[in-house]
Each structure stands twice: as structure tokens, then as C-alpha cells.
């Protein structure tokens, strides 16, 4: 019996050592305190209280931006995956390949690409001035929350398309044809057959997009022009703040609130698709 588990032992050790153990460590020190720049073992919830008192506004902003990115990404990904699965015929594999190929670009490369697109001398401004929609290049497209949403949505789109497409592939065409034969309109087919059978894919897509956005602090710094999200302040505590316990408490707070939002989304989705 035990021999069955040997093959996964190395991976399990890596998982325990590099994921579980650090997580447990940071959970423990989130209840510690800091004196003279040194961590002191303690059992206090002061860091969690301080997180809500001092960073409550940033937390809400972060979750709101992440939710916007999560919804936008999931919606776009669903539409794209639906087209690939049901509407593009032999072009489907090509469209899927195009989706996947965007994964090859590096994270920072994509951020800088969007800086080039949204900047004052960027492609967007050139196009808008070229067709006469605006008289002179606008600086409003970059260094804003909108730029953060656009950049992260673009970055996360392939990650969201894949699970939804995978779920859509499992839908039997015969079921949809039967529904149509029985008089179901397209909206009813979508509501009663496609979305319920795709629920798992939608949840995975939203969860990925939402959680990655909630924890990101690089994109806001580079295209947000100072738009601050929670990750930025967590980084500050671990670096120039010398306060790992506070940083840990902030991390677990956003982790817990993010999971709560994902669970709420799941409940809402299930209620919405319930026949």
C-alpha cells in the first residue's frame, strides 16, 4: 500500500517544504510583535486590528478593483471560449492557439507593451487623433485605475479562457440540439444548458483572475501611476517597514476576504443558474 505513494513523495516534500511550511510560519508570526526591528514571539491580534484600522480603505479598493478585473476577464473569456467551441468551426483550434500564444510573453513585457499602447505617444492616442476623434493626444489612458484593469484583464484572459473552454468542450452537442428541437430559444439554451454545465470553468476563471489581481502590486505601480493596492503596502511591511508580523497579518486578511468573495460569487452563480 505504502509503495503506491512513493512516486509522489518528492513532490509532496517540495509542496510541504516550500508551500505549506512557509504559510504556517507566516500565519504564526502574524500574531507576533516587533520591537527594535526584531520579531518577538507573542500572541496578539493587534496586527489584524491595525490592518483593518489603517488599511481598511486600501483593502476595499483592492478587492473592488480585483472584482472588476475578475468579472471583466471572466465575461470576455466566456465569450471568447464560446466562440471557439461553438461558432468558429475549423478555425477553433487556430483561435485557441492565438489565445495560448499570448502566454509566451513575459509579465513585465506585457506591462510595458500596454504602457506603449496607452501612453501619450502610444498606439491608442495615434489612432484616435488619426481618425479625428480627439484633437491632441490624451494622457488619461495611462496612470489610472482603468489602465490597471485593462492591463491585468489582458494578462489574465488566457488563464480564464482555458478552464472555460475545457468545460464547454464537455457539453454534448446532442443535448443542445435536443433543447433547440424542443423549442428552446438561444437564451434559454445558454441559461439552462451551457452555463450550468460550465459552472466549474467559470468559477475557476473568476477565482484565478480575482485572486491574482487582488495580490498584484507590480501592475498598479507601473501603469497605475501610483494607484496603490494592498500588495504594495504588504511589500512595504516586509521591506522598509521591518515588520514581518504586520505584513503577514495583512496577507492573511486579504487572503481570507478574497476567499470570502470567491465563495459569495459561487453562491450567487449557483443561485442565478438554478432552474
Amino acid at each position: 500500500m505504502a509503495r503506491r505513494w512513493w512516486p509522489i513523495a518528492p513532490a509532496a516534500l517540495v509542496f510541504l517544504g516550500l508551500f505549506v511550511a512557509p504559510l504556517v510560519y507566516f500565519l504564526i508570526i502574524s500574531f507576533w510583535s516587533v520591537k527594535a526591528r526584531m520579531m518577538r514571539p507573542d500572541l496578539t491580534v493587534a496586527n489584524y486590528i491595525a490592518t483593518w484600522v489603517e488599511y481598511g480603505d486600501v483593502l476595499v479598493t483592492t478587492l473592488a478593483i480585483a472584482a472588476a478585473i475578475g468579472f471583466a476577464t471572466t465575461l470576455l473569456a466566456f465569450g471568447f471560449a464560446y466562440v471557439i467551441r461553438f461558432k468558429s468551426g475549423p478555425l477553433g483550434p487556430l483561435l485557441l492557439f492565438v489565445t495560448l500564444i499570448t502566454l509566451f510573453g513575459g509579465y513585465l513585457v506585457k506591462i510595458y507593451a500596454w504602457k506603449s499602447i496607452l501612453g501619450i505617444d502610444g498606439i491608442l492616442n495615434m489612432a484616435l487623433t488619426g481618425i479625428g476623434l480627439i484633437d491632441e493626444p490624451s494622457g488619461a489612458f495611462i496612470y489610472s485605475t482603468n489602465a490597471v484593469v485593462i492591463t491585468l484583464t489582458y494578462f489574465l484572459l488566457p488563464f480564464a479562457v482555458l478552464p472555460i473552454y475545457g468545460a464547454l468542450r464537455s457539453i454534448d452537442d446532442a443535448t443542445m440540439e435536443a433543447a433547440r428541437d424542443l423549442g428552446a430559444k438561444p437564451l434559454a439554451v445558454m441559461r439552462d444548458i451551457v452555463i450550468p454545465q460550465c459552472e466549474g470553468g467559470i468559477m475557476v476563471a473568476f477565482t484565478l483572475a480575482f485572486l491574482i489581481s487582488a495580490g498584484d502590486y507590480v501592475t498598479p505601480r507601473f501603469v497605475g501611476g501610483g494607484a496603490s493596492m494592498m500588495g504594495h503596502f504588504i511589500e512595504t511591511q516586509f521591506s522598509i517597514g521591518f515588520d514581518w508580523p504586520m505584513g503577514s497579518a495583512m496577507s492573511f486578511t486579504i487572503l481570507a476576504t478574497s476567499l470570502a468573495i470567491v465563495m459569495a460569487f459561487r453562491a450567487l452563480l449557483r443561485r442565478a443558474i438554478r432552474p
Binding site: A9, P10, A11, L13, V14, G17, L18, A36, R37, M38, M39, D57, V58, G106, Y107, L108, V109, K115, G119, I120, D121, G139, I142, Y143, V218, R221, F222, G225, G226, S228, H232, F233, T236, F238, S239, I240, G241, F242, W244
Partner: protein, 382 residues
């Protein structure tokens, strides 16, 4: 200074990695998992001595210069940082006893010495020490209880950068950036200490802008929030981003600066200049420090001596557009770089650009470092 720029450099390096096939990735993961589980890496030719170093990406240039590593049979293991404070954190989290050399902003040396993170420097073991700029070597801030804690090896200042083609006149005061003509065209950079070095003095009139009361600290941050919300184009993450914005004509003046930005921007085909306004500005100086219980002390001293020798200093200056401390290296610099830094009038320069300490750690007459950070986060949120 320039910290964020260097962290970006490090991140870009990572982003360029991995052009492996799926098979190679899977094989690598399996090997890594097995090796980690067994607590060993597969066979790799090892040099006689492994030396560990922590500092900014690019700061390893002088170490790699020449044949120092080969001559001493050293396996050089650099760790790149994203902020000076990261070094303190890493030393506290197990780095003591495993780290040979670090490079550190001078302002943190007293704090690190107090907390027992540094070994005192024996200058008799550094043959090039007396060739270093005395104005830096003699700073009280790099000594603790009379003992030297770091060897100065590069420096620079934080001037006001401006686009000569876009400003009506050279700004004479830092407050000139708040003129209506520059509205929405001011560059700011998210460099906490750098901003305090400048605006602490501008707002309070005190020569040491880092030694402020709590009320003064609040006033400084209020002024910076006013600039950020009403005048700034963006609160840039890096000095490199600021350079890009100048090159794209998105900004015409800056609320903070670094001589290297002018060099980078010139490389993009855009000429910008810099000036030290009447209020003066801050200056930075990075030091080579030996962590407590350094495992290879003799080689570490040899490495320090190598880093501050003339040719490695020249190479570093040319590659990073940095100020250097070995006076014998100055004549070796290219004309443009030598003119960038006022080696011939350092005393006069240091009257206008001042080396300032980090805010104190303990409560007292002045706002503490923690008070400053709390206030600075108000600026980041604004």
C-alpha cells in the same frame, strides 16, 4: 537611491528566462524535486571558496571586473535586492554567518551597527582606502563607537531634472515645479527616503530634512500630497520610468532626481538637464559593509580592496553612470561622465547636496523612522 530601477532590472532579467521545451521543464522539475528531497544538487564543479554578496543588480560589476574571482578561486554567489532594507531583513532572518559582503546606503549603518549586524572595518587591510575621497571616508555617520562600519564606494545626488526645451527658465526653487505652467507635467518617483531628503528641507527650511518633529513630518507629506494630486503626471515606480516619461515629453520637471537619469534619457535621444535649487538637495552614498560573523573574512577584505581599486571603479562608473570614490579612477573616466559629477569641487557641492541620516529609530525630539513610514504611506494612498 535608484532602488526601484534596480529592482526592475532584476525583474526584467527574470522575465527573459526560460525558453525550455516541455520535456526539459518536466525533467528539470523532477530533478529539482528529487534533489531538494535528498538535500543535494547534482554534481557541479565547485571553486574552493563560495562567497555570498547582497546588493543591487549592477553593483556586482566591479567584483566581476578583471581576474579577481578566478585568481582567488571564488564561486561568487550574488543575491540581488529590491530595497536596502531587504538586506537588513535577510541578515536578521538567517543571513548572519552566511553572508560575506553587502552594499548598503550609509544612513542605515548606525542602525545596523546598533543591532549587531555589522563587523567593524579594519582599514589597514584595505590598501586602497587612503585613495578614497576623504570627505566620504571622514563621515561620522559611517562610524559606530569610533569604529568604521562601511567603506564608501559610490555616490550621487538628487537634483531637480528639467527639460530645457520645455521650461521657460531654469527652476531656482523646488517649489517652482508647482507653477501652473508645469501642472500635470511633474515627475515624482516612489523613493521614500529620497523624497524626504529633498522635501524635508524644502518644507521646513531645516538643512537636515530627515530630522523633523512629527508636526513637521506631517507638513512635509501634506505638501507632497498636494504635488501628487494637483501637479504630478504620475508617481513613477522607478527612476527609469521617469526617464522614459521625459523622453516621451510627458513630463518637463521633476520633484526628485538622479544624475543617472540624464544619462539614460540622453541615450533615448532626449536632452534633459538638472540643477540643485536654492534649498539644496539630498545626497546618497553607498558603502561596502561586512556582516557579523562573515565566513570568509580575509577574502572579503580582498574583495573590498578590489572593488575600490581604480579599474573596477571606472568600469562601474561607466556602466551605471555613478559617482565613484577612488580619486585615482577619476582621470580614467570618459569626459561626459567626469563632467556629470563635481569631483573638482566636492566641498562646494556638499554644501548644496547634503548627506543626511535616516530618521531615528527611538522616540524623542524627532519623528522616528516608523512615524515617517506611516506618513509616507499616506502619500502612497493619496
Amino acid at each position: 537611491m535608484g532602488s526601484n530601477k534596480r529592482s526592475l532590472d532584476a525583474a526584467m532579467m527574470l522575465a527573459r528566462q526560460f525558453s525550455l521545451s516541455r520535456r526539459q521543464v518536466v525533467a528539470g522539475m523532477a530533478a529539482a524535486g528529487g534533489a531538494t528531497a535528498l538535500g543535494a544538487w547534482p554534481g557541479q564543479a565547485k571553486a574552493a571558496t563560495t562567497m555570498t554578496w547582497m546588493g543591487w543588480q549592477g553593483y556586482e560589476t566591479p567584483i566581476l571586473a578583471g581576474t579577481f574571482l578566478a585568481d582567488n578561486d571564488i564561486d561568487f554567489q550574488p543575491t540581488f535586492i529590491s530595497s536596502n532594507e531587504e538586506i537588513i531583513t535577510k541578515l536578521q532572518a538567517g543571513g548572519i554567518g552566511n553572508t560575506d559582503l553587502i552594499t548598503m546606503y550609509f544612513g542605515y549603518l548606525p542602525l545596523m551597527a546598533e543591532t549587531g549586524l555589522l563587523e567593524p572595518i579594519d582599514t589597514a587591510r584595505i590598501s586602497n582606502f587612503d585613495k578614497l575621497i576623504p570627505q566620504f571616508n571622514n563621515q561620522d555617520a559611517i562610524r559606530h563607537n569610533g569604529e568604521l562600519m562601511g567603506v564608501p564606494w559610490n555616490w550621487g545626488s538628487l537634483p531637480l531634472m528639467y527639460d530645457p526645451a520645455a521650461v521657460s527658465s531654469v527652476p531656482e526653487s523646488w517649489l517652482d515645479i508647482m507653477k501652473d505652467e508645469y501642472k500635470g507635467k511633474v515627475a515624482m518617483v516612489d523613493d521614500p527616503l529620497g523624497n524626504l531628503l529633498i522635501w524635508g528641507t524644502v518644507v521646513t527650511g531645516k538643512p537636515m530634512g530627515t530630522l523633523l518633529t512629527k508636526e513637521e513630518m506631517v507638513a512635509v507629506i501634506d505638501k507632497m500630497i498636494e504635488i501628487k494630486t494637483n501637479h504630478a503626471r504620475a508617481f513613477f515606480a522607478t527612476y527609469g520610468d521617469m526617464s522614459d516619461a521625459f523622453a516621451r515629453n510627458e513630463v518637463v520637471v521633476s520633484a526628485i532626481g538622479w544624475e543617472a537619469v540624464a544619462v539614460w534619457t540622453a541615450a533615448k535621444g532626449k536632452v534633459i538637464e538638472y540643477t540643485i535649487p536654492k534649498e539644496g538637495t539630498g545626497m546618497f552614498m553607498d558603502c561596502l559593509c561586512i556582516p557579523k560573523d562573515c565566513p570568509n573574512l580575509d577574502l572579503t577584505y580582498a574583495m573590498i580592496d578590489h572593488i575600490v581599486s581604480a579599474e573596477p571603479q571606472r568600469m562601474f562608473a561607466e556602466e551605471q553612470s555613478a559617482g565613484i570614490t577612488n580619486l585615482e579612477a577619476v582621470p580614467l573616466l570618459s569626459e561626459g561622465l567626469a563632467a556629470t559629477y563635481p569631483y573638482d569641487d566636492l566641498d562646494g557641492f556638499m554644501q548644496r547636496a547634503r548627506l543626511q541620516p535616516v530618521p531615528p529609530t527611538e522616540p524623542g525630539e524627532f519623528a522616528t523612522y516608523d512615524d515617517f513610514l506611516n506618513e509616507y504611506q499616506r502619500l502612497q494612498k493619496a
